[in-house]
């Protein structure tokens, strides 16, 4: 089947999740005898576009930024649906993130397509189309059957290995002949998050819970995160107490993340918290309570006092990194 992906970029750079998406799309197209087209908005450098070819994209549709400067999901959806029709795609894929969550469901309506988010692998069967996804915030898997000719799917983060599949990649300018509704809203202020590593993209995450006892004790965690180049996270009680900003809350009602390595420090591991981290490749738990449920989910555990263990651990990591 022909596959269309939305290759979004951050100031002209494709993120790891887009390369994962391209690799996944190539595998899907290859399995079913089709090719991968990517819609790219704006004007990334040619060398960045070449990257997509390296990961299996045979054709790039290059289009001006839909809807002007502010992100307008309606305009993006109109462009993406139009690109799907132009390229004859029967599968439209997005990587997970705030843009795709705002655009993909609209594309599904426009194309009268079945919609699945949280896809973690290739379809189990093509006819009928059945695919596995994680449900109940990672507590189980569900198999979804899609009956429509076109499918719109969002690939879960960190669920597909990047693989090089170099193909000849052509670039075409694409201007859809559609009326894009006027935005009808105004962005009056923008606050860029700079410096800090974005939690959803982080390979390593250091997370703290009630065991830290106070918002003032976060320094030992920040030092551990610093030694690892990790993003910071926290459990729900910590965000509710205002010890850390709610953007850092991971769990069923916060962010759902899938890093390679997750440090749960002073987090007991309530099932709601596990829901947000269960797709992590390796979980390390440090807790003074040997009965804490987090140890059932962790690969490595230390029962001990955080305030003694963490500084020593940080030193050991610094030493390793300096070798």
């Amino acid at each position: 089947m022909s596959v269309l992906i939305y290759a979004n970029h951050d100031a002209g750079k494709f993120s790891k999740s887009v390369l994962e998406l391209a690799s996944y799309a190539f595998a899907l197209a290859n399995q079913t005898g089709g090719q991968v087209t990517a819609l790219v908005t704006g004007n990334p450098a040619g060398s960045e576009l070449d990257k997509l070819g390296k990961y299996g994209v045979a054709k790039i549709l290059l289009t001006p930024e839909p809807g002007g400067r502010a992100f307008d999901n309606r305009a993006y959806a109109a462009f993406m649906a139009s690109a799907a029709q132009a390229s004859g795609a029967s599968c439209v894929l997005f990587s997970d993130g705030s843009i795709s969550r705002a655009v993909a469901p609209r594309v599904a309506v426009r194309l009268q397509a079945g919609y699945v988010a949280g896809v973690i692998g290739l379809p189990d069967s093509i006819e009928p189309f059945k695919i596995r996804r994680s449900v109940f915030t990672g507590k189980a898997y569900g198999f979804v059957e899609i009956t429509s000719p076109v499918k719109v799917m969002i690939l879960a983060r960190n669920s597909w290995q990047i693989a090089e599949n170099p193909v000849t990649c052509t670039v075409e300018n694409f201007v859809p002949e559609i009326a894009v509704p006027a935005a009808g809203f105004e962005v009056v202020k923008v606050e860029e998050q700079t410096g800090a590593i974005r939690l959803q993209d982080a390979e390593v995450v250091v997370s703290g819970g009630r065991g830290l006892k106070s918002g003032d004790n976060w320094k030992i965690l920040e030092e551990l995160a610093g030694s690892l180049g990790a993003a910071m996270a926290c459990s729900r009680p910590v965000a509710d107490e205002g010890w850390r900003p709610h953007q850092e809350h991971v769990g069923q009602t916060g962010k759902v993340i899938a890093p390679n390595l997750y440090f749960a420090c002073g987090i007991s591991g309530a099932i709601q918290h596990i829901g947000g981290i269960s797709s992590s490749r390796v979980i390390v738990a440090i807790n003074k309570d040997p009965e804490a449920p987090i140890f059932q989910f962790a690969r490595y555990g230390i029962v001990g006092d955080l305030f003694q263990v963490l500084p020593v651990l940080t030193q050991a990591i610094k030493k390793l990194k300096s070798e």
Partner: protein, 249 residues
């Protein structure tokens, strides 16, 4: 301004999810059903705004797409302050069908603003709000962490992956909210619970909507291997294992 809050009814977030022996559907016996936590926050914020002095919000209603067994959970929304509730009497198989049924309620009852939670705690679709907006041909905003209303405009904060935007928009529109919009959900008072009984909970019959996807089977995740415990006096061992055994450092 008339606000409609869409609510799904989900298993309590502490639930250990189990499936029937044929693995085709969830085992629902013994499950405590609650309002999807994000929808509950959306309702909380809508009620806060309506209760402000000189508020432009004249009505806050809730809607649920589902069968009669959800009524006790819908009653809770009325008990914490919603003015009225609608339930479209159909067991919808997917987000598309839910959005299709919702669009009919919004059009018929002339709502100006629709609010949904960003992710339902069961199948984690987080698609209904955007699908609804597309069906209605309305503007929509996702990942909303703050929201206030003025005479003919609303001010919202939208959290994109690497920035937060403050936006002024004009109803009609659909908002999909995330955590941060309200702090704590409300607990119904006895007076609220009594009062809820006299508030309208209207059962509507479904319109024809075609679904495009359905869950056909479930699977439990593979059990995790046992946790390897490390001597707290020797965190260096952990570093060594993370590098050489797990290959993540």
């Amino acid at each position: 301004m008339k606000i409609l809050v869409c609510m799904s009814v989900v298993p309590d977030t502490t639930t250990q999810i189990r499936f029937k022996p044929d693995m085709n559907s969830m085992e629902t016996t013994g499950i405590q059903w609650i309002i999807n936590p994000w929808d509950e926050l959306a309702l909380t914020r809508a009620l806060e705004i309506r209760e402000q002095p000189d508020s432009v919000v004249t009505q806050v209603s809730v809607v649920h797409i589902g069968l009669k067994d959800a009524d006790p959970v819908i009653q809770k929304a009325l008990a914490v302050g919603a003015d009225s509730a609608y339930r479209v009497n159909v067991a919808a198989a997917g987000a598309m069908e839910v959005a299709c049924q919702l669009s009919e309620v919004v059009k018929k009852e002339h709502f100006d603003l629709v609010i949904t939670g960003h992710d339902s705690a069961d199948y984690n679709g987080s698609a209904v709000g955007e699908m609804l907006a597309e069906l209605l041909d309305w503007t929509s905003f996702s990942s909303i962490s703050s929201f206030s209303a003025a005479r003919d405009s609303i001010t919202i904060e939208r959290e994109m992956d690497s920035r937060t935007e403050t936006i002024i928009a004009h109803p009609p529109c659909v908002l999909t909210i995330q955590k941060g919009i309200a702090k704590d959900p409300r607990i119904p008072s006895l007076r609220g619970i009594m009062g809820a009984r006299s508030k309208p909970l209207l059962q509507l019959e479904p319109i024809p909507c075609t679904g495009t996807s359905a869950y056909v089977k479930f699977e439990n995740p593979a059990p995790r291997s046992k946790c390897r415990m490390i001597d707290p006096a020797n965190p260096e061992e952990l570093v060594e294992l993370l590098r050489n055994e797990a290959n993540v450092l």
